[in-house]
Assembly symmetry: C2
Homo-oligomer: 238 residues x 2
DNA sequence: AATTTTTACTTGTAAATACATGTTTTTTAA
DNA sequence: TTAAAAAACATGTATTTACAAGTAAAAATT
């Protein structure tokens, strides 16, 4: 068993309400119970409840209105930590598949890597993998992931299957994504990318370069993602 | 004079520290004064100081590390509320120009507008404008803005010049952007877009559709933005 | 009956306090 | 001299209390 962490109360309530919203118990436009009511319901004080609500608001699950209350907001569908919204209809519960193109392997970092690296990261080497993600059997994301090889024993030999990389990192290594930064560009599809994403060469592709921070300071996940945005858009809040 | 609002203390400190960071008083990697020190310096209590710091952290200006302190983080250059990072060098203090293509005019909303509209917005009509924004005389953004015509007297006759639309809304109408959502796609440049952005027709263009929330509930800004991302990337945090 | 005022309830801001937990430096002991 | 222990200091979590300000419903007034 991994180390059982003491989860703070405000995080517990955040998770409870988040699941109630994503699970449909609270629907879009619904008014959440008032802060004082949540205090009574879950035995917390108002500052604690407010911390949960403010996290939910900044993550886009609710809107707060002074004098009114907290109103549930519509959510996009999440793939990994990328949100997608369909251009014609809602993504909903569509068929989501992941295909491993290159299984995790340990390689040296490239000299001109897309983000600056720390010495420790450079020395540790790079765990590299490529994945293709499909929605309704249409390839949407071509994903190249890079992680520094620090404290991730046996990761290159793990069975990934359809499970998310993030899930494996969380469950086996207690690593959670806390946030990150990204650069976004529109580029013409290369021969390789176009074949993976079923596009013609030169057609527009969305390119994301991301650096993700984890609860382990010093450990970052990097990814270079190519998206076919013909039918779906990337959705985000700011 | 417009109504002078009581600005909360945590917001004041947020602004002070934000300006110190963007102004270079605190540089990247610097350790901010500790929470208790900030309390003494600005005569606030720790919860108030913490609220400022947590806002700065969620906006990407600092990173907090338990036991260590708050560390200043590198920032991208902001254009409007879009961040840009150069692919070759930092954007820094480059020449930024705004060119009005279509001056603000009042028109009816299109039936198939990019976002769903409330009845009040539909009835009020739409203030429409088009702008081109250049970095070092290279056109980077082609911007179409839509605002519902509610409580914005004389806006169509105002002189915009180089001033930001956001600045005018803030200074003359006390309207501030609180956040929003966006859809991102890569599309081929149309004839019109390609001529504005100095690209060939069909070349990849980044397309953003944004809905921005304001401090006036019910009032939203909408924009459709086309970006030339050949030399610059859109930068964001998540 | 319609309008205005009051009241109750909502979230927002802020202070004072306490203890937990992670990090760094200093002190102490081997 | 080195290594372990303690202290000092950082942020994290949580409670209690108080009042401000926005909203909506109830009550009073016209």
């Amino acid at each position: 068993m991994g180390p059982v962490k003491n989860i703070p109360q405000h995080k517990k309530l955040y998770e409870i309400l988040r699941k109630h919203i994503t699970g449909g118990i609270y629907k879009e436009g619904d008014l959440l119970p008032s802060e004082n009511e949540l205090c009574r319901l879950y035995g917390m004080t108002r500052p604690t409840v407010r911390q949960s609500l403010s996290s939910l608001a900044s993550d886009g699950y609710i809107r707060k209105h002074q004098g009114k209350g907290s109103i549930v907001h519509q959510l996009p569908k999440e793939i990994g930590i990328l949100s997608v919204s369909g251009t014609t209809s809602a993504v909903g519960d569509r068929n989501l598949k992941t295909k491993i193109i290159v299984k995790p392997v340990l390689i040296p970092w490239k000299n001109d890597f897309i983000f600056p690296l720390s010495e420790l990261e450079r020395e540790s080497g790079c765990i590299y993998m490529e994945r293709l993600r499909l929605l309704d059997d249409i390839p949407i994301f071509y994903d190249i992931s890079y992680i520094a090889n620090v404290n991730l024993p046996r990761i290159t030999s793990r069975q990934f299957g359809n499970r998310s990389l993030f899930k494996i990192l969380r469950e086996h290594y207690q690593i959670e994504i806390k946030g990150g930064e990204q650069r976004i560009k529109a580029i013409p599809a290369s021969a390789k990318i176009s074949s993976f994403l079923h596009l013609k060469k030169g057609e527009p592709v969305l390119h994301l370069e991301r650096k993700m921070e984890t609860n382990n300071p010093g450990l970052f996940l990097y990814s270079s993602i190519f998206c076919n945005t013909e039918k779906y858009s990337i959705f985000g809040r700011f």
